[in-house]
Subunit: 324 residues, 2 copies
Amino acid sequence: MANPVRVTVTGAAGQIGYALLFRIASGEMLGKDVAIELQLLEIPPAMDALRGVVMELEDCAFPLVKKVVATDVVEEAFEGSECALLVGSRPRGPGMERKDLLEANGAIFTVQGKALSDHADRNVKVLVVGNPANTNCFIAMNSAPNLSAANFSAMTRLDQNRAVAQLANKTSSAVEDIKDLAIWGNHSATMFPNLYEAKVGGKSATDIVDQSWYEDQFLPAIQQRGAAIISARGSSSAASAANAAIEHMHDWVHGTDEITSMAIPSEGQYGITEGLIFSYPVRIIDNEIRVESGISLNEFAAGRIKVTENELLEERDAVAPLLN
Amino acid sequence: MANPVRVTVTGAAGQIGYALLFRIASGEMLGKDVAIELQLLEIPPAMDALRGVVMELEDCAFPLVKKVVATDVVEEAFEGSECALLVGSRPRGPGMERKDLLEANGAIFTVQGKALSDHADRNVKVLVVGNPANTNCFIAMNSAPNLSAANFSAMTRLDQNRAVAQLANKTSSAVEDIKDLAIWGNHSATMFPNLYEAKVGGKSATDIVDQSWYEDQFLPAIQQRGAAIISARGSSSAASAANAAIEHMHDWVHGTDEITSMAIPSEGQYGITEGLIFSYPVRIIDNEIRVESGISLNEFAAGRIKVTENELLEERDAVAPLLN
């Protein structure tokens, strides 16, 4: 067995962290034959809870877990990290001003970006889950001068999975018969699931569902899914977000020839402003995230993509003062 | 792909249920190629929360999950069930009288036993996780005249995993180097982890650790582990219990030549009263749980086993009035 892979999880004692760690530890993310060391970061008030989580990890006697570090020291959490799942963040609370939100996350992700830059493995794969995920990733990336942009990503896989499930349900098909359904743009209410490229059992999705369902039911359902779950469960999506994080990282590490969604630093593909963390349809070939090329975007799709790009540009401009 | 396996989980919206379902759905319990139908049972006040959990299961787009039923009707939850994880129970709360505890669980497990008897697959594998697990299992088994005793089990795998982790830690060895460490008796403070048979890297555990550590530190640590986790986390073990349930059921379904712990209806092995749900060292060969034979028990072990048997006898006598 090779050296253990160091996996960092921030916000490790939170609900998503709790749903995530035991699946990582059982080998679902990196593989059943890959030994790991877990480096878990929490804020000081959550360290007791984190110690409880570590005890439960011990109580599973996972053979793949060679070491667990629980810390509130950012540099320690990212030391030699090869996979970093940035789950902890300050999401927007009720009555929270945009300025407060951005400042709170700026404080978290500038520090974590710098620690990644100075301490992580040079090939670290960073996945930002904590919201606002794209812009938190943007902040971290721009705080990490010693890493490449290719080290960074943010999660839109949960949106993709939600879209796949809704389309499968609508068309009475199995989820595995839905292909090429990718999310474009920001992980927010503006994100755009592109049905024009999606296939249902090999057929074009938009030949099966009509435009009014797409616009009036499908898009709002995906965009408001998080709120619907909070309303039913009384707390926000945790296990489904953790599942998406595992799938995102699994595909990044192992590669996939199937189209999936990842928010990555744009290199200008499809006219998107360079440097924005933008979700595209991608495949992972030879350990590299490759944006699918040659997709033609009709007026509706292009318009929606412009909206989500504009939102990301506004967020970028709003956090600019935090970056130097 | 064969017909989906119907998997019942009771208490499905609780903390253990939430930690369990997504791992079952991803194929960790029955296998990555085994399609399943989930039949989820909750009490009426938890049905909204359960609907939220079902939405999150949908949002994972798990290819193996062919159907999810969420119900508060016991018969529906057990219809055709091939794997039944009985997680929901009424554990002992602060100030709760023993009589109230037994009556509350009697009401749950007589009904569920009867529903299993009348509706489940004839080869259903029943695992009781909800505490008091052994006696809840005893109640269910004795309420299920149309099923065999061999259909029933209760969980001591979490105790085993805790014991393995503590022994590995004490001896600075890897968890996979600990073998043959089984739990005897009741899943309660009287349970007996038998170190005399355990091996550490092929050597007898009791040649490595001394008797005072065994009695004064190891046994209390395992017995009080649940309380220690509640104290740290602020809530009881969920993910580690879910993990143990997955491992128990995985081994039962797939078989294992390694010794593991399961609480099963005693056939009198090692002098234990027949019919008690008693945890033994077992292997699963040819789809059958076989109690390891030929273990010699010294005075200390025999004494501890007598204590845990006596506790189970008392629990049996206390619930007798509930069983006609």
